[in-house]
Amino acid sequence: MINLETPKKHATLIDQAHQLAMNMLRPISRKYDRAEHAYPKELDMLAALIDGVSETGASSGAGASGVRRDDSADDDGGTVRNGANLASVLSVAEMCWGDTALLLSMPRQGLGNSAIASVASEEQLDRYRGTWAAMAITEPGTGSDSANIATTAVKDGDEYVINGEKIYVTSGERADSVVVWATLDKELGRAAIKSFLVRKDNPGLRVERLEHKLGIRASDTAVITFTDCRVPAEDLLGSPEIDTKSGFAGAMATFDNTRPLVAAMAVGCARASLDLTRDLLERAGVVIDYDRPAQSQSAAAATFLRLEADWEGARLLMMQAAWMADNRRPNSLEASMAKAKAGRVGSDVTLSCVQLCGTLGYSEGELLEKWARDSKILDIFEGTQQIQQLIVARRVLGLTSAELR
């Protein structure tokens, strides 16, 4: 039966996430925006709290660890599942309503953890339990064309030797391991790209520097070099075979799971702006009326209605993508649709809310200007707006990457 409400099953988890966001993230939001690169020590306690909740099995995880497609039995008494993916996007959205950068800095909730959850074997999953894994894909010469990466991994006995430079590694300094993409054989193209888990204490790994950024400043973004970095062969995630037919799909499968999460970040960040702006407008005497035609209301109310409608669209596309993953349906198209819509809506909403609130919104006295800076990265990382459009267009039009480049 068609129903697009927040799942009843996840209501408690979402309430918890909201309370955490309101009472732990918001109070330190501005502090760590100003103190870029300072470690938000408050998050250690928060992470322990979240671990505690997860241990009890009361929730499906507040973040990245929840994306694995488990095959456990349905507990809704029906055939439709509302599982870990929906729980993850909804709780991530709540946390980013609190603060996107702090969510990204959450210990043991890195994007590398999502990669592990998506592609690791059961044995690896067990072995990596409790690690905080960053994700290293982008290189100075390779952004969206991630099939073109130059970092190499060469088999040497029971080890792989990794060489290369990775940039834009979120939590690259704070995490205790890094999932790095490297090619086994550049000649074989994307099929030869594999991901490896590298411990941060590996002598061949070096954090070179941290970036100074437009937004999400509380999250550390590192440049990491790998110089004759030796990792045990069992730390190659997934299969070591170079399967030229489906090869890249394995690595890219991570994105099907992480893109709805990034959409969730944009949805959460934008809602922070909408919530505050609505309140400020109401205090100024502007009430949003859903029945009266927008053009008969004030321009501010009409603008707000437009923003909220777009936002609702992004949120429902995000839920759709997660719901499909929960029900073990392929969701590459829907994940990219959600990411594309949420990414651009996140920017439009947060920037427009600054406009509606004038210098009040532009000032550091409120968080509106911060959200308008934080949201921009969400239309870039884990696949830019343009990459999402490429993916959607190829799927919809039935074109290969050679035909639509």
């Binding site: 129903n3 809704d76 596309l317 759709q320 919809v396």
Partner: protein, 476 residues
Amino acid sequence: MARTTGGPLVIGVTQSYRFAMSFLSNLRPGGRHGLSSREARDAIGLAVAAVSRLAQSDLIDRVGLRKQAEQAVYSTTRNGFRVATAAGRTFARSGRRTAGARPANAASRGVFDLTPTDDEAMLLEVVRELATEVLRPAASAADEACAAPPDVLAAAQDVGLPALGVPEELGGIMEERSATAGALVAEALAQGDMGLAVATLAPGAVATAIGLWGTEAQQQTYLPAFTGGSASGVPVAALTLAEPTVLFDPFELATTALRDGDGFVLDGVKSAVVRGAEAELFVVSAMLDGTPALFLVESGADGLEVEADPSMGVRAAGLSRLHLTGVRVDADALLGDTDGTAYAECVRLSRLAWCALAVGTGQAVLDYVKDYVNGREAFGEPISHRQSVAFMVADMAIEVQAMRLLTWKAASRATRGQDFAREVGLARQLCTEKGMRIGLDGVQLLGGHGFVKEHPVERWYRDLRAVGVMEGAVLL
């Protein structure tokens, strides 16, 4: 204007001033032919206007320069002719004035789900076939004729569309509130053709309204005819909320209902009336004691006139205006409450239907341009291989799905009896803006071929513009 305080002289001056002004305003172009009232004619303009008048005059017809004389009969394709409404059938009164039966709300398991129920899926299968096999092939000619062909209307009746929103105990087909089923059906029909979808859904809008808000008497008097209990078939019926004014707000109507003894007297003009000339039953919105309310008006009532109002799109619905001049109805004509609650729900459910129609037509555009850009070659390869083309298609796919999800959310809340004012407000906002964009891009992607009637995209462009301006006509 000067008031009468100045005595007879002032009145005389004022009158001649008025006369002079109306004479001048005849020379002034403003207000007609799409000209702003700020326009002024100079000498050359006046001369050109005179030549234009001559060119349009009967004189040249009498000397045989024009081929055909126009007939002053009602035609759905021409504005301006007014005729009395159809004589219509007599609905036999029965039942009491107590509250009628109400459809039950659907229960929810609280599970996020995008899967239609088995019943809805079965219904959809039938309606999709109707849309593909009957509506789409008839669409172009119906658009031209500003009328829905009888076989299309009959096919829709056979499927049972008019009774879709009527509860089972009143002879309908659904056990529970069926706004979701209605949204799926409207979407599927509009994927065939929006204009014909509106024409086929219009009687159901009136039946659903009576099912939702009618007294026992109103339900027993009118509903049997809609649910197949009448030898003369389902009555042509129209839900009329819109009025032809700028910045129209359905909660601030110019049409009035004045209490008169036991009944009411209605005055005003309604627009976007589906198949007005044939309609036998209208639901008319009017201000009663400062609050909008709904009234059942049978076409035989004195003081009703209908005027064809062919518009930019949705032409197959035979859009018209309904003029009400001192129309007397009895106390039983009031449909629903007088505090505006039923009326607000009516406006929302109608907008919801328009959203569903926009989703269907948006999907039709997407499906059509998809094939076109893959087949059309330029510079040695399909134009779909170009990002500027492909990305427009991608955006279309993204937005039509967002429109669909918002519409479904509002519909499913209505089905469960939850408040859906916010959801339908947002759905309408998105469907208006993105629907128009999809129509625009649909024509653009076909280039010159999109601009000519050889392809349906120009019709969809016109139809999708309706979503933001329409109120009434359809209802889920």
